[in-house]
């Protein structure tokens, strides 16, 4: 069996940072779900401090948001649009959450 190359210190730091980043995202997402799921407006959900902190995490959080959308469609669209400046959802899919999610993840 081939020996795996030894990880350097800097790779360890990078992995640790990535895990910490992901864990922070999970914590914020959990808090956002818990405290806003009963609200009727995605815009109000998006004004929650946990959601705003997720947006502040910037481009690096985009893959995690897309993973969430693949796992279960939810109102991550405002965050994705704010971070990326893009909106890939065709007009005919607006309001159709599964189709909106599909437009983002494809």
């Amino acid at each position: 069996m081939r020996k795996r190359p030894r990880e350097t210190n800097s790779e360890n730091v990078t992995v640790a940072n990535a895990m910490e980043f992901q864990s922070r995202f999970k914590d914020l997402a959990r808090r956002w779900h818990k405290e806003t799921s009963h609200l009727s407006l995605a815009s109000r959900m998006a004004s929650h401090s946990a959601y705003e902190q997720i947006i502040e995490m910037g481009w690096a959080v985009v893959p995690l948001l897309l993973d969430e959308l693949r796992r279960k469609p939810d109102h991550w669209f405002i965050a994705l649009e704010r971070i990326t400046g893009a909106n890939p959802v065709p007009a005919e899919c607006e309001g159709k959450i599964e189709k909106m999610a599909a437009a983002w993840v494809k």
Partner: protein, 153 residues
């Protein structure tokens, strides 16, 4: 009632302090696919919201109560002054707070109300006041339209 259902009801009662265990039933599973505004309009596969990117027919795209009223007016509802059940009339209630509309509920012929709670479940509740006093604010407007005539087969 199962333990799980009891836990779900307790969770909703924490979110809406005026809900009482005996005054409401959970009638669906949680889903983010539709919200209360769509549900009050009879739609269960779209999220209706003033924000660009969501469905918002017949009304201006801002969160004011007036625009929510405009939206339902576009669906044939007219403002009315009471929430009592009336034969042949379908009623909806719009809730709001200082920032605009927050929620809508639809009345059943029995006089009870149906509400979709954000991304959570649909519930059937006894009184409109059950959902007031928290994040939904207060009932701001009742509207009504003629119920479609049921065909006799």
């Amino acid at each position: 009632m199962s333990g799980r259902r009891r836990t779900l009801k307790k969770h909703l009662m924490r979110l809406f302090p005026r809900l009482r265990a005996g005054s409401f039933q959970i009638t669906s599973r949680p889903t983010p696919l539709y919200n209360c505004i769509a549900f009050a309009a009879g739609v269960v596969d779209e999220w209706w919201e003033y924000r660009r990117g969501y469905t918002w027919p017949n009304a201006g795209r801002n969160p004011s109560l007036d625009e929510a009223i405009e939206l339902f007016a576009g669906l044939g509802f007219a403002v009315c002054d009471n929430d009592l059940p009336e034969t042949h009339w379908e009623k909806i209630a719009i809730y709001g707070d200082h920032a605009g509309y927050t929620h809508a509920a639809r009345q059943l012929e029995s006089g009870r109300w149906l509400s979709k709670l954000g991304k959570l479940q649909d519930i059937e509740h006894k009184r409109l006041v059950d959902l007031t006093g928290g994040d939904y604010g207060d009932v701001k407007q009742i509207m009504r339209r003629r119920r479609p005539v049921k065909s006799v087969g």
